[in-house]
């Protein structure tokens, strides 16, 4: 759910690996970023609408990933996928580290790029100049 930079990149990786991928976005123009050889399904729709999720067959999927720019949309869609449709693997991106911690504690599998990138940057700064090659 979410065909931005990360969604496009992930969908392409999984598609090339031979997985069956469906990518969902509310904006039909968002799919322009996908490579022309992308074999997965493109669906225009709102990922926090149960009817849309049912239509794309969420009851049968093995995994659901929410990477729209909106933390709250991701949280809501992920909770619907996990608790209403019983998707076995759900991963939710949450930029806000505080909300990420909360929903992690509530049992969602979450990733906060803000926290991850800050840590990567800190590590990079701590390395000696020219120490990495």
């Amino acid at each position: 759910m979410g065909c931005g930079r990360v969604g496009t990149e992930l969908a392409t990786l999984l598609d090339r690996e031979g997985q069956e991928v469906t990518i969902l976005d509310i904006d039909p123009d968002a799919f322009d970023q996908l490579p022309t050889d992308f074999k997965g399904k493109r669906v225009v729709g709102n990922g926090i609408d149960q009817d849309v999720l049912r239509r794309i067959g969420l009851e049968e999927v093995d995994a659901f990933v929410a990477v729209t720019p909106g933390d709250n949309r991701n949280v809501m869609a992920s909770q619907i996928a996990k608790h209403i449709f019983g998707v076995p693997k759900v991963v939710c991106r949450i930029f806000d580290p505080i909300r990420e911690e909360l929903y992690h504690n509530l049992g969602l599998e979450t990733i906060s790029p803000t926290r991850e990138v800050a840590q990567l940057l800190k590590k990079a700064l701590e390395r000696e100049p020219g120490g990495e090659d």
Partner: protein
């Protein structure tokens, strides 16, 4: 009572106004500076500018001591998250969320929101009586005769309710053959059988008088009295 309202739009504003008039301590959390200013001008110093889903904002709003937390922004996902943060991070006892998509009602309840109110569902509940939700169901068309057997449920507002079958002004060549009550018990009525709300009525009528029969079934009581 200390009540926090997330969302300073029309709903949030009038809700805050009423709750303040009733003597409650109220705080409105709103992102938009202009809306914050409007509320402050009208209702005084009861508004905090910020994102009602952010832990830091809710911390400075004193959410921990709130008796009631109400989220009434225009976006369902924001109302859900605001209430979940209030409930799980600040242990607010009672959370209320406004929802736009009536199908989210069950989702919100199962995700721990105490009360989810759908304005769409409320409006529907009020107009449902006027919607043609009690159509005649054609059961069988009798070949060659232009007759059909139809079934319909008697709505509670119908002028038929409480009347005897003999009193009903049915269309010509129309006969009520079976009445099935709400418990599912079928009876063959005579002219003294009283029609009750919720009865399923099975009738034989001419195909062309279907509309007239529908009108008899669904005309509200008041309207008939005026005629």
């Amino acid at each position: 009572m200390y009540i926090i309202i997330v969302g300073g739009g029309k709903v949030g504003y009038y809700l805050a106004k009423q709750l303040v008039e009733d003597g409650n301590e109220v705080l409105v959390i709103e992102k938009d500076a202009a809306k914050c200013q409007e509320i402050a001008d009208e209702l005084g110093d009861i508004v905090l500018r910020g994102d009602g889903c952010e832990g830091i904002t809710l911390e400075s709003a004193g959410t921990g001591r709130a008796d009631l937390f109400i989220a009434v922004t225009g976006d369902d996902e924001d109302n859900l998250v605001a209430c979940q943060v209030a409930k799980n991070k600040f242990s607010v006892r009672r959370t209320v969320a406004l929802i736009n998509n009536p199908k989210n009602e069950a989702v919100f309840k199962s995700l721990g929101i105490d009360t989810a109110i759908s304005s769409t569902a409320l409006i529907l509940a009020n107009i449902e009586q006027e919607l043609p939700s009690h159509p005649l169901i054609p059961l069988l068309t009798i070949k060659g005769g232009g007759l059909e057997i139809v079934e319909a449920k008697v709505p509670s507002y119908s002028a038929m309710v409480g009347k005897r079958v003999g009193e009903l002004l049915l269309p010509q060549q129309c006969l009520i053959t079976v009445i099935i009550d709400e418990e599912g018990v079928p009876r063959i009525p005579n002219s003294d059988t009283v029609v009750r709300a919720g009865d399923e009525v099975v009738a034989v009528c001419r195909c062309e008088s279907e509309d007239a029969l529908r009108a008899v079934l669904t005309t509200p009581a008041e309207e008939t009295n005026e005629r």
